[in-house]
Symmetry: D2
Subunit: 365 residues, 4 copies
């Protein structure tokens, strides 16, 4: 489908959904990857991609006209898709977790790298759940995964969008020597996090919904794997860290806000020192020059009333973690507010950054 | 202005503002009180009340036509207002705290009872800050206040709207023998809390503002006075309780939501026991049969996604504290969500309930 | 299900939907009607009504606890429902128009009066489409309908919610002798008009949708039947009146606004005269003292910036037609803005008012 | 302030306001113009520009850091500003129209070209009010203006934001030979049109305001000057065209929607022909290759539910006029929906395009 033989051909599974559209938008001019296949459910297979999504195109980036006439493949048709790509981004929404695991496994078995937004494999023992600025080294479980599973492909996943607004800032402090024992976080999550059609307007105009199914559990537990260790070809969770979450849906289109309170396990940095650590923080994506990496992954905003979703979510193409309002906490040690774009950094952008990391480390060729 | 000699004549200072309007609305058919004077700034004095507020009438309760032709008095003109009323509800917004204190003092000096929504006197040593379901007995500082000040009137205040969604539920547990040592609360506050014109629409459509000036300090400190003791004619703050707050402005018209995490000092009640305590909680306003008292001051909602501002703020004429989502907390002991109507329970309704308590206790005659 | 033998027992078909809920709310304390049966799709049949709707209860009126334990009947099970009621309010959403017509016919055949919110029968020749203040006399086709159909029940319908904000004011002028030839109307319609889940929040936060399927056709054509004549047991459309509509979905919960431009066929009233006609307008519902009739069906608001959905939709329990901004039009003759509550006056409230009219006229006993 | 001697140095009057900020954002990397002076009211003069606007920066384009340390000039200080610039963009909001006219005149007298967003000079006889795609030739009144006024500068203005969503599509038809006699337009205008702080959130969450002061008059009359003729060094309004407007404020951040009904004076084009005319329309800005000109000034969208503010306002950097829903009108001849970005095409972007036109025609050197 393309004459450019240098780019890595990829498939997007679930290309009609909101996250799938965001993948398509972000990959339109990607220097390394090229969309070779757009795939969706069996029901949509055969439709022209433009016909299927144009009337409900969600990303701010305009629809790439070059994909208008692509025919939607059936995401379950591994035999047809796998030979045409090296990498699939999995953004399928299947009701059944096991079914999705099997599908992702089957692609890996067919020699394809799978980078998944789905939660199916997040707790699989030998599957890395990666935020590249934090646990890029977790990618190095891939050789063990391949050996254990007997496949040439790979499966890697990204975590839930709700943790992206606060975990990298916490990690930056931990890495600087300030260990953290307790975190209390309240999230104010955008409606795009629920996909499309997602949240009914009658539920959210002039309203807050103080509950999102499964979200508090993910917010409390996924960080423990991401901050954990690899031993003997499997993951062990971080110990000594406890997180408690309140998750709310709010009338905002994009951008998850997190109000975070933190207790350190030992030494407590000064507030000014914390801001320095955050602003100076760089990690593998920056050092490796990954195309989707934000130049400065954590940006501290000095204004008293920031970060705000509308004003800050698009910073650095939606890949920055915005923080602000750092102050002492009478109950814990410090408090701050974090914000990231849930469908860019928190979904498709994060997935692409993961894939770039895997390419850079040689696991996708 | 009225032939009904049985009702207590009252003035509303700041009657053109949002809270003042809410007072007017709630007092329209009040069994004990009757609006004799509507007063505002010197600038508005002399206008017909209907002309001044009809085009920007905020309450859900329709404008009471009987007040349409009242002429706005100058709130600073104590000599003219005080003789006509026994009670003033102070909802003036003066830039200067000392000025407002002096004005409220002068009314008390003129023999009038002042029930204030303003923060000017909240930390005055002999002025009670009352949530009637919690610290009704704080009203009993009035005799000492009168003696110390040498006035026949009185000054009593109500606390900030942001604490009303969570403090009564906490108090109910404390009263039942479960002492609390730490509270972490994140509020999602409605735009009506900022008055009118208040929050610009460009700041809040598709946005969150994670900061409200002065609000976190009030949320953390006012409960300590409310839960404190009277000794020697003055207040002493509650010891052994620490509160930490994140306060956010959200795109909701009315109703402040609070995500609350609680650590007990000693014994920890079972979750089912807590719900029982909340639903069964009754206090002085209910026992005294105060006209504005909700029958059940704390209402626990079983649905997993409640309370919600749009659906629950008007429960019991906007005077109920709605709670829900009670669950164990991995960091503290329990977590829950509270919600109350910020301009009813949290402002005018709370002020009227305070005045009813003071009448019932004989401090307003 | 009730011991009160004086009230007319009714069934609500589609009782779990938004309009069905509104019916349940409004009938909770109705002086003439009593909810004997709540019915829904076959799929929901057998559920407790409280379990089915409590978590998504939409009306401002609280859920009537007395209906909590009612078991949902299957709306298709006419044999079981018809003997228990004299009247059904049909708020079912069936994909197929013919199927719904047959269902409503079958109830009428079983001797039950059907008052329908659905569009299935709106253009049936012998079925009256009634706004009681306008064409109450259309109910008098019922004897002909009964004879032609050979049933003892009846079928009557209410028109689309989009026309309620402007048609009664136009009719008031026509009735006063000012015939109208052309109307151009642009509607700004609330999301509740699309039911639940209805409009996805991602489609409407910070957005307008300038299209609602089928709505412009209904807005242009239904008035012609309502303003038409009965001859020979069937309806003939009004001639000499042409309407053109733009229909938009806007980020408002409840209340349809209509911007209306009007050209008179002959004599043109002065603006002041029009306001007098509107404010003085009374019709059959008022004269008959129907329980749900607004005292003043058309209310003109003098303020320059009214009517507004949030401030005016609940006037007279949501049954008033609010008008304002009457002014000369450079292209037509006059312009004004109309507003009514789309799920009260425009749906359930309008349906109940129709039923009350039919009772009052003796067609329901 | 700049070493780049090739660009034309410009001042922005009212640089702290919303439109002024939008000018600053758009000019950050402009190929012809360079911001030499940011000016505001006397009160703000002397502040650093970054300090004055950073906390309330409105444009989607990030704040240009290079202007952070510019000191705000006093816009009234013509003596200091005029020598440093060739062009001022006037986005000042002065309460007094005459005062603003005098200020703009004084700049022209000082030899500076003034391109104004204000309404002060819109009806001045020898001042062109320009939408470059429509009446670019109106710029050619400048020599007469200079002679009559005896100044070397110039004053040109842009029209109100509310007419931009529909006038260019109408003009395209007129230019193609289809004269128009009557237009009825209902606008749904974004809150950013009211500036900052502008519309209070309590007035617009869950609400519509069916009135914007002065807006309907501008919407009805300004097109007549734009479509008019120059004779004897002054403008004559278009005859034979009548426009009627309803203007509404809606809960949308940016993007004015217009529902338009059109009656032709003579020949009526087929719908398909109209779409062809619109999509093919090009004018002076495109032919001259003006830097801010959209490639295709009118874009017809085929989807049934477009244009929508959120999805379409940014098309072609916010400079496109989006149209859709073309259909026959039962009262007039055709109906359609137009949409443009009110602070880009409708304000700062339109002003810059005007300035580019004046440069291209040699009136600014």
């Amino acid at each position: 489908m393309s004459s450019n033989t240098k780019k890595i051909p990829v498939a997007i599974l679930g290309a009609t959904g909101m996250v799938g559209q965001q993948y398509v938008a972000l990959l339109a001019n990607h220097p390394w990857f090229e969309v070779a296949v757009v795939a969706a459910s069996t029901r949509s297979a055969g439709l022209r991609y433009g016909d299927a999504v144009l009337s409900r195109w969600y990303p701010e980036i305009p629809f790439p006209d070059s994909l208008k006439d692509y025919l939607l493949a059936d995401a379950l048709d591994i035999k047809s898709i796998a030979p045409r790509v090296k990498l699939v981004f999995s953004a399928l929404e299947l009701p059944n977790k096991e079914e999705l695991q099997e599908l992702e496994n089957a692609y890996a078995q067919a020699g394809v790298a799978v980078v998944s937004n789905a939660s199916a494999h997040r707790w699989t023992n030998d599957v890395p759940m990666i935020i590249p600025e934090i646990n890029h080294h977790h990618a190095d479980i891939i050789p063990a995964q391949r050996q254990q599973r007997g496949w040439n492909g790979l499966v890697a996943v990204k975590p839930n969008c709700s943790i992206q607004s606060y975990l990298t800032p916490l990690f930056a402090l931990m890495q600087a020597g300030y260990d953290i024992s307790h975190v209390a976080v309240t999230t104010l999550q955008a409606v795009s996090g629920a996909g499309y059609p997602g949240v009914p307007s009658l539920d959210i105009i002039d309203n807050i919904i103080p509950y999102i199914g499964g979200e508090e559990e993910k917010t409390e537990q996924e960080p423990l794997k991401i901050l954990g260790d690899i031993r003997d070809g499997r993951f062990f969770q971080r110990e000594g860290l406890t997180i408690s979450a309140h998750c709310n849906r709010v009338p905002v289109r994009d951008g998850h806000t997190a109000c975070v309170s933190v207790k350190f396990a030992g030494a407590k940095p000064e507030l000014a020192r914390i801001i320095d650590i955050w602003n100076a923080f760089r990690s593998a994506p920056q050092e490796l020059g990954l195309p989707s990496a934000p130049t400065q992954p954590i940006v501290y905003l000095d204004e008293t009333n920031r970060p705000q979703p509308k004003k800050d979510r698009m910073r650095q193409q939606g890949m920055a973690i915005n923080v602000g309002r750092l102050r002492a906490c009478p109950v814990f040690d410090i408090k701050f507010v974090g914000l990231s774009h849930n469908t860019l950094r928190g979904a498709a952008g994060g997935g692409i950054l993961n894939a770039e990391l895997l390419v850079s480390k040689g696991y996708i060729k």
